[in-house]
């Protein structure tokens, strides 16, 4: 290897790194506002879809589950609290399942939405579908239990996705409902503080 080779190799790498870095910087700079806007819009749309009748969803605070930070919100209408929206995580088969739970003042589930999960595609990921999440509606913390048998009193797990069903029902949603119920009992219901 001559000195000329070394010079050329160095030059090769420098050019590729500099040009590549420039292209990436330009693409990143141009797409990151879009990605940020998407994220904000997605969060807002998700909160809105949880409780369409709510006029405002002020953030109440942050709680911790599985060492992850999850947010919880009040849902208000005409200045009165009509329910709560809680973010929660459940430990699934291959991922932490990020869920959003809407509960009424009676702390029964109104709606559950899976925000993010990486369960087995085509198998565990069916828990994302309304067919499953609808099974949780109307349940209180005591009845949030995924069973393999036919049940309407509790929650029937999806065949082939028992672990994922349990992660959503017994872990994410039940803990979320429990949390918000205890929290609101401490602070008194309807006590909305903006943070």
């Amino acid at each position: 290897m001559t000195g000329k080779d070394i010079l050329k190799i160095t030059l090769n790498l420098v050019v590729v790194y500099v040009v590549g870095g420039l292209i990436l910087a330009i693409v990143h700079a141009n797409t990151s506002p879009i990605r940020f806007a998407n994220k904000v819009a997605a969060e807002k749309a998700a909160l809105n879809s949880m409780m369409p009748e709510a006029e405002d969803t002020p953030l109440l605070g942050v709680w911790k589950i599985h060492d992850k930070e999850a947010k919880y919100y009040a849902a208000t209408k005409d200045g009165k609290t009509i329910g709560y929206i809680v973010q929660s995580f459940g430990k699934g088969y291959s991922s932490y399942i990020n869920t959003l739970i809407a509960v009424g003042r009676d702390f029964k589930v109104i709606k559950v939405k899976i925000l993010d999960q990486k369960e087995t595609p085509g198998l565990g990921d069916v828990i994302e579908e309304v067919d499953f999440t609808n099974r949780l509606i109307g349940k209180d913390a005591e009845h949030l239990k995924a069973l393999k048998t036919d049940t309407t009193e509790y929650v029937q797990a999806v065949t082939g996705a028992t672990i994922s069903s349990r992660a959503v029902t017994d872990d994410a949603v039940r803990n979320g409902v429990d949390f918000i119920r205890n929290k609101m009992k401490e602070g008194g219901p309807g006590n909305v503080r903006r943070k």
Binding site: I9, L13, V16, G20, H28, T120, P121, G122, L123
Partner: protein, 211 residues
Amino acid sequence: MSAENELSNWELIKNGVLKENTIFKLALSLCPAIAVTTKLKDGFFMGLAVVFVQVMVNLTVSAMRKFIHPRIRLPIFMLIISGWVTVVNLLMDALVPDVYKNVGLYIQLIVAFASILARAEMFASKNKIVPSMFDGIGMGLGFLVALIFVSMFREALGNGTIFAGTSFAMSIGAKPLLIMVLPAGGFFAVGLLMALFNWLYTRYGTKSHAG
């Protein structure tokens, strides 16, 4: 100059889709062909991303072929590939966020696709820009077509749906074949379609001289 250079642009595309189809003929990059093909939509966008990366990598490598020192050509190719993959990754995240949610993980894996590095080394580094571009389109399309067939097959049998539409299997009272959406089903699907492709290819494909 290699003999491949004498092929017309159209023949280059045909070569990528049929004669040297990444999945069915060369049996390269089978990992994504099994990982992201449980749903047609995922397979389709994965294939599109590969077409983009393959074309851009071929163009870049071809444009730089006289400038790159032969001793470090492979690291340079890898840098070029990972650069373009990152571009696709960022673009898809911003433009099609709901698809990205499913295939994002595998988009990053395009960096390690044998087929992309192989085309950069075997074709683009030896040929002019225009043939390299068509070679990229051909190879990318071959991959896309293969992914479409595999994922259509698996979604239809495993979920009973096409493009996540209504379940036609349910309407005739059949139960979906669960195994088709599992990794084992991926091997079955790829194997069966590979056999079918090669049977059709040897029967009809070789009669026309371009194949």
